[in-house]
Symmetry: C2
Subunit: 196 residues, 2 copies
């Protein structure tokens, strides 16, 4: 599995603490994780293309999640980076060699292929049952509240407020810009119990 | 996943129809699957090293399973080729950047790492519950009995009888060479129902 999956998961967990009216610029995401912005860019673009993140343009812009953390599964993020192709590719080896028959004979999926697909289904199902809401900064970083406090301070110093409505809010009733303007803190503060 | 997994599974399914007193030379394994013997060699060596196959030397030699088909899980074969390292490697990204703390703070596994390991455990568990005995030639090849009959004939023409006891039999009581000498057919013939 490519290293991009781990980067994408860490970036989205960080974005999951932002409120919809906040963004973090790519530069800040890169700095927080100690990596170059250009390296993160391709993964953030993949997440944006998959509808997991949104990129808000302009001076108050940056990245934020496109949906609520509980509506984004870990599988969504893994597939945004790795694609949806199974890891096991069946090359129909059974149709080779001196005992092979006409292609029309092979109407049933190869048993080896089935067994490998079953295992991949179990893997996907495990990732499908977990969402970003399950991966709080506490669970990812450390059980140390001090670390969370430091990270919270850092995020608040780097977060930007934006009046651009999130895609899933712009279709709802009312004036989303007005909603954004009256929103309180820029992030969901994390406490050891009941985090997010 | 490397293509070697598929080749290893097809070869071991073929060897699963042999009785312990029979072997198939590498040349025959390669011919049956329409691939070069030199290409298969590295995979057969990996299977042998992992204790899944045995290589019997000499003019009556060749490959056979080292254990009964029901004692060899699909995971055994996949790990013989791919190794046991998880597909997801945690690079401890949480310990990077301006908010990182002393390494001693990170006593609990990163939550992202845990979620990814849980999914891999589900994948491994799925492969661990299936054995070579579940993958009969019928399930792999086709539901067509004609294909199985052709393959059976081909195997009987290429199989070799050997008096060299299998490793797990050489420690049992009695004279294994005598047992081998009186054994009947060289393979387990496959029927549509109750195959193997």
């Amino acid at each position: 599995m490519s290293a991009g999956v781990e980067w994408a998961l860490h970036c989205t967990v960080l974005l999951a603490v932002l409120k919809p009216t906040s963004t973090l610029p790519g530069r800040a995401l890169a700095e927080f994780h100690g990596v170059s912005e250009s390296y993160l860019l391709k993964h953030m673009q993949a997440l944006t293309k998959a509808g997991i993140c949104e990129s808000v343009p302009g001076p108050t812009g940056g990245y934020r999640l496109a949906r609520k953390p509980r509506e984004i599964t870990i599988l969504d993020i893994v597939e945004a980076i790795e694609g949806t192709e199974p890891a096991f590719r069946c090359d129909e080896i059974r149709q080779r060699g001196p005992t092979a028959m006409d292609v029309s004979t092979y109407t049933v999926r190869c048993g080896i292929h089935s067994v490998m697909l079953d295992a991949e289904s179990a893997w996907r199902q495990s990732l499908r049952t977990r969402t970003l809401a399950d991966l709080t900064p506490l669970s990812v970083q450390t059980m140390d509240q001090q670390r969370v406090d430091i990270a919270t301070t850092w995020i608040l110093e780097n977060v930007r407020r934006t009046a651009v409505p999130r895609r899933d809010e712009s279709t709802a009733g009312g004036d989303p810009r007005a909603k954004a303007a009256v929103s309180g803190d820029a992030i969901h503060r994390c406490q050891p119990k009941g985090c997010q």
